[in-house]
Symmetry: C2
Subunit: 413 residues, 2 copies
């Protein structure tokens, strides 16, 4: 068996390891979860407390289906592991010593210790080293909110491993310390991050505004304009904006509160036209404050702007608002629409981007009589590297697709 | 002779017409002037009164040398002309009936009538038809402020034709009604447009902050990113911003007043670093409010953004601020710098754009040890169609290069 196992406790076998692996020695505890990506329609940008990730303003997002974008994470602990906690991300050993990751682990361990103190019969998991293995099914740091899904999965998996009774909102306070927007990935559907006012951040947490089942027709088409890493990380970028933009405080004081109130009502009423207008206006406002940062931050490029014009043309030619664009801290366009308008929206983009990878078979059957401007079509053809068709989805889900063998070996694939 | 003359009173001959032309009949009165382009460093964007062109905020510009960019205009009047006033722009009959042009002509005629009433011995020019012929030495409507130079030249030429005693600030109130920024082109050097508060706009006028001679070392390098007409005209664009941007009122209330005070002091002290920072911040703020407009207005493109990064790299590698970018309602970059830093600034751009047209011989002798990032260099090489090297210059100048023959024929060349 020793020959079967690499010295770092990693195996590449895909065969059912339990058939022949060494199961003697201390037990291995494990829990596995998936967590979704969320794409904000009212953006989080700016921290009032960078250490605790306390936002300068509330935000609201749509959780996207994990069939298309998800992080899978197994958290395990065992006395047989080396003393140090370890993290493997997409098959590569990853730094677990970062302050944000440590903050999450520390808080979760403290909660487990509380349970163990209250019930001495519980196994002493809090004192065991953690082995965390995680993988995304989408490119990391391409402006696809991988850190949100990543920290949500990390927190959810460890909370499950430790059998913590805490609800998702309580866990969101922990996940938020890993990555602000991660707090919103602990829920499915339509999720608000209430920024809160307390210095300790205990009131800065995510809540479900509406479950996916309330408005399940919401779809998203993502035009990936670049899979490259971002130029300016959002963490440093947003603090430059807070420090230097003369327009930012207006966004925080007036623009965002209005957008939050309006879009929550639009979601309650399933009013897509209003949802779409706020979504587009808030994305514009966010990128405007980036452009007003000194030195200016540019996340959108000419391809992004062509996507904006394409959405405007689709809405104009459809005679009503059927699509809404939004852009995170990168050039990718996320276009929200309702299932009933798939032909007009997906069909219009498919007609010019049919050669681009990522389309689902359903797209091929959708035809639109909307012809996009030729210049816009050319820019999109040249700049969009792939598309992702998805929609509103559920929050984290327990999984048996463990990334750690029952004998404690990390599975790399 | 009749065969020599086209029926619309236009001749193409370049030979001294007076040698053989018919000089009988009513006299032709004429006055010719040149007027400069100005490029704002604190931007005019937004009207509180669209009819009178009253701005929502003050602005400040640098007048550019007429050796490189100028409008030449001859205003003439004669009883031998057809009854209708006419305007010829760059060789083409142009519409003179527009409300803005008519407002300027009406006010100038009224001032002339006042003179004629006061002194009956004066010829009755106010009642004679006008023939105005004008030409630019640069592409029209490419974001090169052609309307500013055009209306400044129109007003200055007619004022000279009518021998009006009014000073440039008084004339700026008239030119402003033609095109807001035109009021600043009636002066050379460093010019402020005081937005004023009166409803009649009589206090919304241009004043000289400092003559060109106060800080003659100011240079400008223009990277022409597109000579095409703009997508969104600034007149309609700025009113969309006023109506829809949630961030715009913050620019008007706080950002611009601070920029005006700071840059006027910087000009007084010849403090380039401060002048440059305000210039770049104000351009960023202006384009941010455009991006925050609904639907968003995009004037800058990927070439413009590469120019921003190039300027940042030049300043960083020079170890001090030697260059400042600013963008009007178009993608062209205007880069201000001081003569003493020409090697670092012009040299850096010449090293990557030497194949681009428009360089003066002096550029070829400038070498910079600053190497711009290769990606940025490639974008600029692909996107910059020509360069214009110029600098701070004087205001309108009387000229004998008349565009109307002494017999009243328009000269087209």
């Amino acid at each position: 068996m020793a020959t079967e196992r690499s010295r770092c406790g990693v195996t590449n076998t895909k065969a059912p390891a339990s058939m022949y692996m060494d199961l003697s020695g201390p037990p291995v505890y494990r829990a596995t979860t998936t967590a979704p990506v969320n794409i904000a329609v009212v953006k989080y940008w700016g921290k009032r407390d960078p250490k605790l990730n306390l936002a300068t303003n509330p935000s609201l997002s749509v959780t996207l289906s994990q069939d298309d974008l998800r992080t899978l994470t197994t958290a395990s602990c065992s006395a047989k592991y080396p003393k140090e906690d370890t993290l493997t991300l997409n098959g590569q050993p990853s730094d677990i010593s970062g302050a944000r990751t440590q903050a999450c682990i520390r808080e979760l361990r403290a909660l487990r210790e509380g349970l163990e103190k209250a019930d001495p019969s519980l196994p002493k998991l809090a004192e065991l080293p953690l082995r965390i293995v995680t993988e995304n099914n989408f490119p990391t740091a391409a402006g696809l909110a991988s850190s949100a899904a990543g920290f949500a999965a990390l927190v959810r998996a460890i909370a499950d491993l430790y059998k913590l009774p805490n609800d998702p909102t309580e866990l969101s306070i922990i996940a938020r310390q890993g990555s602000g927007s991660a707090c919103r990935s602990l829920f499915g559907g339509y999720v608000a991050w209430r920024d809160g006012t307390q210095e300790d951040g205990l009131d800065s947490k995510a809540v479900e505004v509406a479950p996916a089942s309330h408005w399940p027709q919401m779809r998203a088409l993502i035009l990936v304009a670049s899979a490259a890493k971002k130029g300016v990380s959002s963490t440093s970028g947003m603090q430059q904006t807070v420090a230097t933009s003369g327009l930012f405080k207006q966004r925080v004081a007036e623009v965002v509160p209005k957008h939050m109130a309006t879009i929550e009502e639009a979601i309650a009423k399933r009013d897509f036209a209003t949802f779409a207008e706020v979504t587009m206006r808030d994305s514009n406002s966010f990128h405007a404050t980036c452009a007003d940062t000194y030195p200016p931050i540019f996340y959108m490029n000419d391809t992004s702007r062509a996507a904006v014009r394409a959405v405007e043309q689709i809405n104009e030619k459809a005679g009503k608002t059927v699509a809404a664009y939004t852009f995170d801290a990168g050039p990718n366009a996320v276009i929200y629409f309702l299932e009933e308008d798939a032909a007009a929206v997906v069909g219009s983009f498919y007609s010019i981007l049919s050669a681009t990878e990522g389309w689902k078979d359903e797209a091929k059957s959708l035809s639109s009589d909307i012809a996009l401007d030729e210049t816009i079509a050319q820019i999109l053809k040249a700049g969009v590297s792939r598309v992702i068709q998805t929609g509103v989805g559920e929050g984290p889900v327990k999984s048996n697709e463990h990334l750690v063998e029952i004998n404690g070996e990390a599975i790399i694939r």
